[in-house]
Protein backbone atom coordinates (compact mmCIF):
# COMPACT_ATOMS: atom_id res chain seq x y z
CA UNK A 1 0.00 0.00 0.00
CA UNK A 2 2.85 2.32 0.88
CA UNK A 3 4.62 1.44 -2.37
CA UNK A 4 1.54 2.09 -4.48
CA UNK A 5 0.87 5.45 -2.88
CA UNK A 6 4.54 6.42 -3.26
CA UNK A 7 4.45 5.57 -6.98
CA UNK A 8 1.26 7.54 -7.49
CA UNK A 9 2.83 10.51 -5.67
CA UNK A 10 5.95 10.24 -7.80
CA UNK A 11 4.08 10.18 -11.10
CA UNK A 12 1.91 13.10 -10.01
CA UNK A 13 4.98 15.12 -8.98
CA UNK A 14 6.74 14.34 -12.25
CA UNK A 15 3.72 15.43 -14.27
CA UNK A 16 3.37 18.65 -12.30
CA UNK A 17 7.05 19.55 -12.63
CA UNK A 18 7.08 18.80 -16.34
CA UNK A 19 4.05 21.01 -16.94
CA UNK A 20 5.66 23.86 -15.01
CA UNK A 21 9.02 23.40 -16.70
CA UNK A 22 7.48 23.31 -20.14
CA UNK A 23 6.51 26.96 -19.78
CA UNK A 24 10.19 27.94 -19.83
CA UNK A 25 11.85 27.21 -23.13
CA UNK A 26 15.36 25.83 -23.18
CA UNK A 27 17.86 28.00 -24.98
CA UNK A 28 16.17 31.39 -24.76
CA UNK A 29 16.92 32.44 -21.24
CA UNK A 30 15.47 35.86 -20.33
CA UNK A 31 18.70 37.09 -18.83
CA UNK A 32 17.79 40.31 -17.10
CA UNK A 33 20.56 40.54 -14.49
CA UNK A 34 22.94 38.32 -16.44
CA UNK A 35 22.96 40.57 -19.46
CA UNK A 36 23.93 43.60 -17.36
CA UNK A 37 26.69 41.60 -15.66
CA UNK A 38 28.04 40.42 -19.01
CA UNK A 39 28.25 43.99 -20.26
CA UNK A 40 29.83 45.58 -17.20
CA UNK A 41 31.93 42.96 -15.43
CA UNK A 42 34.98 43.29 -17.67
CA UNK A 43 35.34 47.01 -17.12
CA UNK A 44 34.38 47.01 -13.44
CA UNK A 45 36.26 44.03 -12.05
CA UNK A 46 38.81 43.07 -14.68
CA UNK A 47 38.76 39.33 -14.29
CA UNK A 48 38.62 37.16 -17.38
CA UNK A 49 36.47 34.49 -15.76
CA UNK A 50 33.02 36.04 -15.43
CA UNK A 51 31.73 33.37 -13.05
CA UNK A 52 34.52 34.33 -10.63
CA UNK A 53 33.50 37.95 -10.83
CA UNK A 54 29.93 36.94 -9.99
CA UNK A 55 30.95 34.61 -7.14
CA UNK A 56 33.40 36.97 -5.46
CA UNK A 57 32.46 40.43 -6.71
CA UNK A 58 28.75 40.72 -7.22
CA UNK A 59 27.64 37.97 -4.78
CA UNK A 60 30.49 37.98 -2.32
CA UNK A 61 28.30 37.64 0.76
CA UNK A 62 26.81 34.42 -0.66
CA UNK A 63 30.35 33.00 -0.73
CA UNK A 64 30.85 34.09 2.86
CA UNK A 65 27.64 32.28 3.78
CA UNK A 66 28.78 29.17 1.96
CA UNK A 67 32.09 29.16 3.82
CA UNK A 68 30.15 29.48 7.07
CA UNK A 69 27.90 26.54 6.15
CA UNK A 70 30.87 24.37 5.24
CA UNK A 71 32.59 25.28 8.50
CA UNK A 72 29.46 24.45 10.50
CA UNK A 73 29.00 21.12 8.72
CA UNK A 74 32.59 20.01 9.23
CA UNK A 75 32.59 21.09 12.90
CA UNK A 76 29.33 19.24 13.52
CA UNK A 77 30.70 16.16 11.75
CA UNK A 78 33.83 16.25 13.89
CA UNK A 79 31.67 16.59 16.99
CA UNK A 80 29.46 13.61 16.11
CA UNK A 81 32.39 11.45 15.03
CA UNK A 82 34.45 12.13 18.13
CA UNK A 83 31.68 10.75 20.31
CA UNK A 84 31.72 7.42 18.48
CA UNK A 85 33.93 5.21 20.64
CA UNK A 86 35.12 3.09 17.79
CA UNK A 87 38.87 2.83 18.35
CA UNK A 88 40.28 0.12 16.11
CA UNK A 89 41.92 -2.63 18.12
CA UNK A 90 45.64 -3.24 17.86
CA UNK A 91 44.97 -6.36 15.77
CA UNK A 92 43.21 -4.24 13.16
CA UNK A 93 46.05 -1.73 13.22
CA UNK A 94 48.71 -4.23 12.27
CA UNK A 95 46.44 -5.54 9.54
CA UNK A 96 46.07 -2.06 8.10
CA UNK A 97 49.80 -1.34 8.13
CA UNK A 98 51.05 -3.51 5.29
CA UNK A 99 49.94 -1.71 2.17
CA UNK A 100 53.02 -2.54 0.12
CA UNK A 101 55.88 -0.44 -1.12
CA UNK A 102 54.27 0.31 -4.48
CA UNK A 103 51.31 2.06 -2.93
CA UNK A 104 53.24 4.02 -0.35
CA UNK A 105 55.98 5.19 -2.73
CA UNK A 106 53.57 6.17 -5.48
CA UNK A 107 51.46 8.04 -2.93
CA UNK A 108 54.60 9.93 -1.90
CA UNK A 109 55.19 10.64 -5.60
CA UNK A 110 51.69 11.97 -6.12
CA UNK A 111 51.86 14.36 -3.19
CA UNK A 112 53.90 17.21 -4.78
CA UNK A 113 52.12 16.83 -8.13
CA UNK A 114 48.69 17.17 -6.54
CA UNK A 115 49.78 20.13 -4.43
CA UNK A 116 51.13 21.88 -7.54
CA UNK A 117 47.91 21.18 -9.43
CA UNK A 118 45.75 22.39 -6.56
CA UNK A 119 47.70 25.62 -6.08
CA UNK A 120 47.68 26.25 -9.84
CA UNK A 121 43.92 25.92 -10.02
CA UNK A 122 43.47 28.17 -6.99
CA UNK A 123 45.80 30.91 -8.21
CA UNK A 124 44.38 30.99 -11.75
CA UNK A 125 40.77 31.12 -10.62
CA UNK A 126 40.20 34.52 -12.19
CA UNK A 127 41.64 33.59 -15.59
CA UNK A 128 40.52 30.05 -16.39
CA UNK A 129 37.73 27.83 -15.11
CA UNK A 130 38.64 26.87 -11.60
CA UNK A 131 38.93 28.73 -8.38
CA UNK A 132 39.06 28.21 -4.67
CA UNK A 133 36.66 25.32 -4.20
CA UNK A 134 37.99 23.04 -6.90
CA UNK A 135 41.60 23.69 -5.93
CA UNK A 136 40.76 23.26 -2.27
CA UNK A 137 39.27 19.81 -2.84
CA UNK A 138 42.36 18.77 -4.84
CA UNK A 139 44.58 19.99 -1.97
CA UNK A 140 42.51 17.91 0.46
CA UNK A 141 42.97 14.88 -1.79
CA UNK A 142 46.72 15.59 -1.90
CA UNK A 143 46.88 15.46 1.88
CA UNK A 144 44.62 12.45 2.18
CA UNK A 145 46.29 10.12 -0.35
CA UNK A 146 49.51 9.46 1.63
CA UNK A 147 47.30 8.96 4.65
CA UNK A 148 45.41 6.17 2.89
CA UNK A 149 48.65 4.46 1.89
CA UNK A 150 50.38 4.62 5.26
CA UNK A 151 47.82 5.29 8.00
CA UNK A 152 50.53 5.43 10.62
CA UNK A 153 51.68 8.82 9.44
CA UNK A 154 48.81 10.49 11.21
CA UNK A 155 47.59 13.98 10.50
CA UNK A 156 48.43 17.14 12.38
CA UNK A 157 44.97 18.25 13.43
CA UNK A 158 46.17 21.36 15.25
CA UNK A 159 48.17 22.54 12.20
CA UNK A 160 45.13 22.06 9.97
CA UNK A 161 42.94 23.97 12.40
CA UNK A 162 45.47 26.82 12.45
CA UNK A 163 45.57 27.09 8.63
CA UNK A 164 41.80 26.94 8.42
CA UNK A 165 41.30 29.60 11.05
CA UNK A 166 43.82 32.01 9.58
CA UNK A 167 42.51 31.75 6.01
CA UNK A 168 38.92 32.21 7.12
CA UNK A 169 39.96 35.27 9.11
CA UNK A 170 41.91 36.58 6.09
CA UNK A 171 38.75 36.45 3.97
CA UNK A 172 36.81 38.53 6.47
CA UNK A 173 39.72 40.95 7.05
CA UNK A 174 39.95 41.70 3.33
CA UNK A 175 36.24 42.46 3.38
CA UNK A 176 36.61 44.76 6.40
CA UNK A 177 39.49 46.64 4.76
CA UNK A 178 37.03 47.59 2.05
CA UNK A 179 34.75 48.95 4.79
CA UNK A 180 37.52 51.17 6.11
CA UNK A 181 38.09 52.64 2.67
CA UNK A 182 34.53 53.87 2.54
CA UNK A 183 33.13 51.16 0.23
CA UNK A 184 30.71 48.38 1.01
CA UNK A 185 31.71 45.15 2.75
CA UNK A 186 33.64 42.81 0.40
CA UNK A 187 33.82 45.37 -2.37
CA UNK A 188 36.69 44.46 -4.74
CA UNK A 189 39.62 46.74 -4.08
CA UNK A 190 42.81 47.93 -5.67
CA UNK A 191 41.59 48.53 -9.18
CA UNK A 192 42.09 46.04 -11.91
CA UNK A 193 45.29 45.51 -13.75
CA UNK A 194 45.74 44.25 -17.23
CA UNK A 195 43.09 41.68 -18.12
CA UNK A 196 44.49 38.21 -18.54
CA UNK A 197 47.64 38.53 -16.48
CA UNK A 198 48.12 36.82 -13.16
CA UNK A 199 48.15 40.01 -11.10
CA UNK A 200 44.85 41.38 -12.28
CA UNK A 201 41.39 41.83 -10.83
CA UNK A 202 42.40 43.48 -7.58
CA UNK A 203 41.67 41.54 -4.44
CA UNK A 204 39.83 38.66 -6.15
CA UNK A 205 42.84 36.26 -6.33
CA UNK A 206 43.54 36.89 -2.65
CA UNK A 207 39.97 36.08 -1.71
CA UNK A 208 40.07 32.88 -3.76
CA UNK A 209 43.42 31.89 -2.20
CA UNK A 210 41.92 32.27 1.27
CA UNK A 211 38.88 30.22 0.26
CA UNK A 212 41.03 27.50 -1.31
CA UNK A 213 43.29 27.07 1.73
CA UNK A 214 40.32 27.04 4.08
CA UNK A 215 38.38 24.44 2.11
CA UNK A 216 41.47 22.27 1.66
CA UNK A 217 42.37 22.22 5.34
CA UNK A 218 38.76 21.64 6.39
CA UNK A 219 38.13 18.75 4.05
CA UNK A 220 41.41 16.96 4.80
CA UNK A 221 40.63 17.12 8.52
CA UNK A 222 37.15 15.78 7.81
CA UNK A 223 38.45 12.91 5.68
CA UNK A 224 41.03 11.97 8.28
CA UNK A 225 38.33 11.84 10.93
CA UNK A 226 35.97 9.76 8.84
CA UNK A 227 38.76 7.28 8.28
CA UNK A 228 39.39 7.14 12.03
CA UNK A 229 42.97 8.27 11.70
CA UNK A 230 44.20 9.96 14.85
CA UNK A 231 47.36 11.90 15.70
CA UNK A 232 50.60 10.23 14.79
CA UNK A 233 51.92 10.01 18.35
CA UNK A 234 50.02 6.95 19.55
CA UNK A 235 50.20 5.25 16.18
CA UNK A 236 53.96 5.70 15.87
CA UNK A 237 54.46 3.34 18.85
CA UNK A 238 52.40 0.56 17.26
CA UNK A 239 54.16 1.23 13.98
CA UNK A 240 57.57 0.81 15.61
CA UNK A 241 56.48 -2.54 17.12
CA UNK A 242 55.12 -3.72 13.76
CA UNK A 243 58.36 -2.71 11.98
CA UNK A 244 60.32 -4.58 14.67
CA UNK A 245 58.19 -7.67 13.99
CA UNK A 246 58.70 -7.42 10.22
CA UNK A 247 62.49 -6.96 10.59
CA UNK A 248 62.66 -9.94 12.95
CA UNK A 249 60.70 -12.05 10.45
CA UNK A 250 63.05 -10.92 7.68
CA UNK A 251 66.09 -11.86 9.78
CA UNK A 252 64.58 -15.25 10.64
CA UNK A 253 64.04 -15.97 6.96
Amino acid sequence: MRNVSALVFASGLAFLLMVIAWQFTVGAAPMLVGEAILQQAASELGSANLVTSVVLGYRGIDTLGEIAILFTASTATALVLSSISDKPSSKNNTEIRDKGTILSSSASLFFPLLITLGLYIVMHGHLTPGGGFQGGVILAAAFFLPLLAVPGRGVNHSGLALVEGFSGAAFIVIGIIALFQGNAFLQPLWGHGEMGSLLSAGSLPLLYAAVGLKVGAELSGLLAQLGNITESEEDSQTESTSTKQTTMQAENK
Binding site: P88, V137, L223, G227
Partner: protein, 90 residues
Protein backbone atom coordinates in the same frame (compact mmCIF):
# COMPACT_ATOMS: atom_id res chain seq x y z
CA UNK B 1 25.30 16.54 -30.15
CA UNK B 2 21.80 15.31 -29.48
CA UNK B 3 23.16 11.78 -29.39
CA UNK B 4 25.65 12.63 -26.66
CA UNK B 5 22.94 14.28 -24.56
CA UNK B 6 20.60 11.34 -25.12
CA UNK B 7 23.23 8.76 -24.13
CA UNK B 8 24.23 10.72 -21.02
CA UNK B 9 20.64 11.20 -19.88
CA UNK B 10 20.02 7.47 -20.40
CA UNK B 11 23.10 6.57 -18.31
CA UNK B 12 21.99 8.97 -15.57
CA UNK B 13 18.45 7.67 -15.31
CA UNK B 14 19.40 3.99 -15.38
CA UNK B 15 22.12 4.53 -12.76
CA UNK B 16 19.62 6.40 -10.56
CA UNK B 17 17.16 3.49 -10.75
CA UNK B 18 20.06 1.09 -10.12
CA UNK B 19 20.88 2.91 -6.86
CA UNK B 20 17.38 2.14 -5.60
CA UNK B 21 17.15 -1.46 -6.75
CA UNK B 22 20.59 -3.06 -6.60
CA UNK B 23 21.42 -5.36 -3.67
CA UNK B 24 24.92 -4.59 -2.53
CA UNK B 25 25.80 -1.17 -1.16
CA UNK B 26 29.15 -1.00 -2.97
CA UNK B 27 27.34 -1.17 -6.31
CA UNK B 28 25.03 1.61 -5.19
CA UNK B 29 28.03 3.85 -4.42
CA UNK B 30 29.51 3.05 -7.85
CA UNK B 31 26.20 3.95 -9.53
CA UNK B 32 26.16 7.29 -7.69
CA UNK B 33 29.64 8.00 -9.03
CA UNK B 34 28.45 7.14 -12.57
CA UNK B 35 25.58 9.63 -12.23
CA UNK B 36 28.08 12.33 -11.29
CA UNK B 37 30.27 11.49 -14.30
CA UNK B 38 27.40 11.70 -16.81
CA UNK B 39 26.21 14.91 -15.19
CA UNK B 40 29.60 16.56 -15.66
CA UNK B 41 29.57 15.68 -19.39
CA UNK B 42 26.14 17.32 -19.71
CA UNK B 43 27.50 20.39 -17.92
CA UNK B 44 30.29 20.70 -20.48
CA UNK B 45 27.76 20.48 -23.33
CA UNK B 46 25.69 23.20 -21.65
CA UNK B 47 28.77 25.49 -21.81
CA UNK B 48 29.44 25.60 -18.05
CA UNK B 49 33.11 24.57 -17.55
CA UNK B 50 33.41 25.85 -13.97
CA UNK B 51 30.42 23.83 -12.84
CA UNK B 52 31.64 20.75 -14.72
CA UNK B 53 35.03 20.92 -13.01
CA UNK B 54 33.43 21.29 -9.58
CA UNK B 55 31.08 18.39 -10.22
CA UNK B 56 33.91 16.10 -11.34
CA UNK B 57 36.13 16.92 -8.40
CA UNK B 58 33.38 16.77 -5.79
CA UNK B 59 31.14 14.03 -7.17
CA UNK B 60 33.61 11.47 -8.42
CA UNK B 61 36.39 12.35 -6.04
CA UNK B 62 35.26 13.57 -2.67
CA UNK B 63 31.74 12.16 -2.43
CA UNK B 64 32.74 8.64 -3.43
CA UNK B 65 35.65 8.68 -0.98
CA UNK B 66 33.43 9.86 1.87
CA UNK B 67 30.78 7.22 1.10
CA UNK B 68 33.35 4.44 0.81
CA UNK B 69 35.00 5.44 4.11
CA UNK B 70 31.65 5.40 5.91
CA UNK B 71 30.79 1.99 4.46
CA UNK B 72 34.22 0.70 5.49
CA UNK B 73 33.66 1.83 9.05
CA UNK B 74 30.24 0.21 9.19
CA UNK B 75 31.52 -3.11 7.86
CA UNK B 76 34.62 -3.26 10.09
CA UNK B 77 32.42 -2.46 13.06
CA UNK B 78 30.41 -5.62 12.35
CA UNK B 79 33.52 -7.72 11.76
CA UNK B 80 35.19 -6.50 14.96
CA UNK B 81 31.98 -7.22 16.82
CA UNK B 82 31.76 -10.73 15.35
CA UNK B 83 35.34 -11.43 16.35
CA UNK B 84 34.67 -10.26 19.89
CA UNK B 85 31.55 -12.41 20.10
CA UNK B 86 33.46 -15.43 18.87
CA UNK B 87 36.14 -14.83 21.48
CA UNK B 88 33.48 -14.65 24.17
CA UNK B 89 31.73 -17.78 22.93
CA UNK B 90 34.94 -19.78 22.75
Amino acid sequence: MIWIIAIMVFIMLTSAIAVLLVDSLVSAIAATSAISLALSVIFVILKAPDVAMTEVVVGSGLSSVILALALYRISTNTSVQNKQQEQRDA
